[in-house]
Symmetry: C2
């Protein structure tokens, strides 16, 4: 975990994010949270992962204020995990993974689930990088401007 | 790795993508490829990761046609790794991680590098989810429509 720890203070904003979200389980927990899952048992059944690893990942996500513990919505004594505002802002990451998978991880003709607008039932648009004036950008049209040392 | 293997055929497009990109090292290799790194030694120096793990990750990325081996651009006998078209389409994932990190992984006043447009030097816009007609969508405005069994 020394390597993971070192990402926390990396100069690159992406690397810092990967300190928290740099493994498939954490990303799938966030996906499930967006899909409405809130209880330890729901995540465990959905992901089929070892309980101790799930508990460890959830602990980090709560510590980093991506999830928060809230009283159960049904009034029972359970605690539930809810996305914070900061957690909700992870949505573009989840959508970007999904959209790339839709394009590239299926055989021709193989069907998959689709992210649709609640209001119309139509598929959402693909995420696109845009310039400050809203015009579309290719990856070659942008570069990382580093901090001066 | 049994767990990883099972993601390859998962019903969820995001989970399938995480079969390939579900660890911090693979994602950082892709980031470095977008930043122009092309040689084994460049990736190794940038990421400080064990050579055997780097070799394994690069092998999977080539097998999955995200990177391809090409002759060295300087005419030497080296082989270089270049993003394929499919690999270039990962850019929104990399940008989404970066933008979330910019917002949430820095202390107030702490500076970070910025993704800017090559043409103007201005920061790119934040990725936004949009409806089919281009209007902005909140995460609550979309849902995953599953395949009928």
């Amino acid at each position: 975990m020394a390597k993971q720890e070192s990402l926390r203070a990396d100069p690159c904003p992406m690397a810092r994010t990967l300190y928290i979200l740099g493994d498939r389980w954490s990303l799938l927990i966030i996906r499930d949270a967006f899909d409405g899952k809130r209880r330890f048992g729901d995540f465990q059944r959905s992901l089929g992962m070892a309980k101790n690893i799930l508990a460890e990942r959830l602990k980090l996500l709560v510590e980093e204020e991506i999830l928060q513990m809230v009283p159960a919505s049904d009034g029972s004594t359970y605690q539930e995990y809810a996305l914070t505002r900061k957690g909700e802002e992870l949505f573009p990451i989840i959508v970007a993974f999904r959209q790339w998978g839709e394009s590239h991880m299926y055989r021709k003709g193989e069907r998959h689930s689709v992210l649709v607008e609640r209001a119309t039932g139509k598929p959402v648009k693909r995420l696109e990088l845009r310039a400050h004036d809203g015009s579309p950008l290719n990856h070659g049209d942008a570069f990382v401007k580093k901090l001066k040392a």
